[in-house]
Symmetry: C2
Subunit: 319 residues, 2 copies
């Protein structure tokens, strides 16, 4: 019997974590932790009825693993408490990702670093997760530079994002995003930094280097919210050291764990990726504007694979 806590169990990511857990055969004793607002709700899990409890300092006694799906500020308070209570934490927020003692893990790319954990394991940003899997598959070519340009769905902002899109479709003003997302695209995700980048862009840049263990990799990013419910797309330009054969690259991507190649003249779209656990890549083309440069169009369900799926995959590795 594994004693597991899911923190933020009624959020979009928490809910999907439970769906992913329900697909597994683990013998689980699950504690569902939420804010006071969402406490005492009944949640069905594999024919059982679980009641949500208020998250507090004593929530983690005798818990083996805690999956956190709450925002960074709250995570900063409760994640260390959970780790101190002896529980192994998988945290979905950005609060601990860049700390040296915290492994940042995508199981298809860097499972080995999991062993180095000291009680806290970080789950990367959703756009980063789907992007580093194809990059990881290409490591043997020598990665030099990556340019990310994203098309991110509103579910990346949780329920508030979806509600704002629906609000816009009804002709109402936005309440969550700074400007309307319906009939629009917003080239801002998360807050701005002083250098003009957003935190989302910084996360993609820094997390990519950490996960791939390539501190000198050149990475840049432009992250953009688009008016759709599910799945993120990333247009990637990947410059490599070594020349490549396009057919060989396609085969490598098609056979890599976690990836599915939707090959030319077909291509993956967000509607197609929604609900899937694999990452779809397509539009694999030579970029003729630089030597050994490649275009990849990469689409994944940001909750199903990104946030929730990757966290449960990390749990799989630990168990």
């Amino acid at each position: 019997m594994i004693k597991l806590a899911v923190v933020g169990a009624t959020g979009l990511v928490g809910e999907t974590i439970l769906e992913e857990l329900a697909k597994r055969d683990y013998d689980l004793d699950i504690k569902l932790l939420t804010s006071a607002q969402s406490a005492s709700q009944a949640i069905h899990f594999k024919g059982r009825e679980l009641i949500t409890e208020v998250l507090g300092p004593d929530s983690f006694q005798a818990i083996d693993y805690a999956l956190f799906a709450i925002d960074g500020e709250l995570a900063k308070v409760y994640v260390p408490q959970a780790a101190q209570a002896g529980c192994v934490v998988i945290d979905n927020s950005s609060a601990f990702r860049m700390e040296q003692s915290v492994p940042l893990v995508v199981p298809e790319v860097n499972p080995a670093v999991l062993k180095t954990h000291q009680g806290i394991i970080a789950n990367p940003n959703c756009s980063t997760i789907q992007s580093v899997v194809p990059l990881g598959a290409l490591r043997s070519y020598g990665l030099k530079r990556v340019i990310y340009t994203t098309y991110q769905s509103v579910s990346g902002s949780g329920r508030a994002g979806i509600e704002d899109l629906v609000r816009g479709q009804r002709g109402e003003a936005p309440q969550f995003y700074p400007v309307a997302i319906n009939n629009n695209v917003i080239p801002q995700i998360d807050d701005f930094l002083a250098d003009g980048y957003t935190k989302e862009e910084q996360k993609m840049i820094e997390e990519t280097k950490k996960i791939l263990e390539l501190p000198d990799l050149k990475v840049t990013a432009t992250t953009v919210r688009v008016p759709l419910q599910s799945a993120h797309s990333v247009a990637m330009v990947v410059e490599m050291e070594k020349p490549f054969d396009l057919a060989a690259v396609k085969q490598l991507l098609a056979e890599a764990p976690g990836l599915s190649l939707i090959d030319w003249p077909d291509y993956p779209t967000p509607l197609q990726a929604a609900g899937r656990e694999d990452i779809l890549v397509g539009r694999i083309r030579r970029d003729n504007s630089a030597p050994n440069s490649l275009h990849i169009w990469c689409v994944a369900d940001n909750i199903r694979k990104g946030a929730a799926g990757n966290a449960v995959q990390i749990l799989d590795e630990l168990i």
Copy 2:
């Protein structure tokens, strides 16, 4: 009195050409040409009522200027007929853009080539027009490489695109796009070429080099349809020969004809650009992944500035 023909007068571009013409003080005798289907319609122009006529081989007798806004296949037939009849043609299709004898003109960037015309002048692709204006402003830094990643609205496909988005919002299947555009993004605009690029991507690449008169410029593109009605956005990465000061680059862009800078922490969005005649740039940042490299986020109304506006600006230059 200038004798002018607008070909494809009832389409989205043709209609906007008439709106742009109505803002000017020219003394015009306008002939509206359409397919048989759209003929004999009454169109209001500055208080007058004009009746559409069927486009045919004899449509261009005694016409000074003809603005074509019909598809490439039809343009291939009628544009040469109009030019032979002695009329100066401004053609919005891609049919003649890459012909050496045909100037491809964005008045803010290369007005001088207009003088070389032999009866046919080509209006560039809408995404290209908005992108080359900021690039033109940066020419003194020595342009080396440009990476385009686009977010193109459905009005780029004309009425058929808008109807498909509305159809999707009503839960109906697409009739124009190969897959649903509502709640989706489609990484395909126009047909595919054998090398995996789309014709839209090829247009952006080749037209950029021709307009800037930089045949050796390195250019690559990924063009994507997004579910919104109006205005295209282009995320541009621009690598230059010379080092730059970010404030100086911003000032150059802010002062360039046809451009408006929406500076950090604000930024332009498609909703904001819709209906405007200027091109909005923002999110001007240093790209730290390469020397002398710059990020530009560029938004414009693809019909108002792109297709129709640029064609009428060319007419202004000719008159």
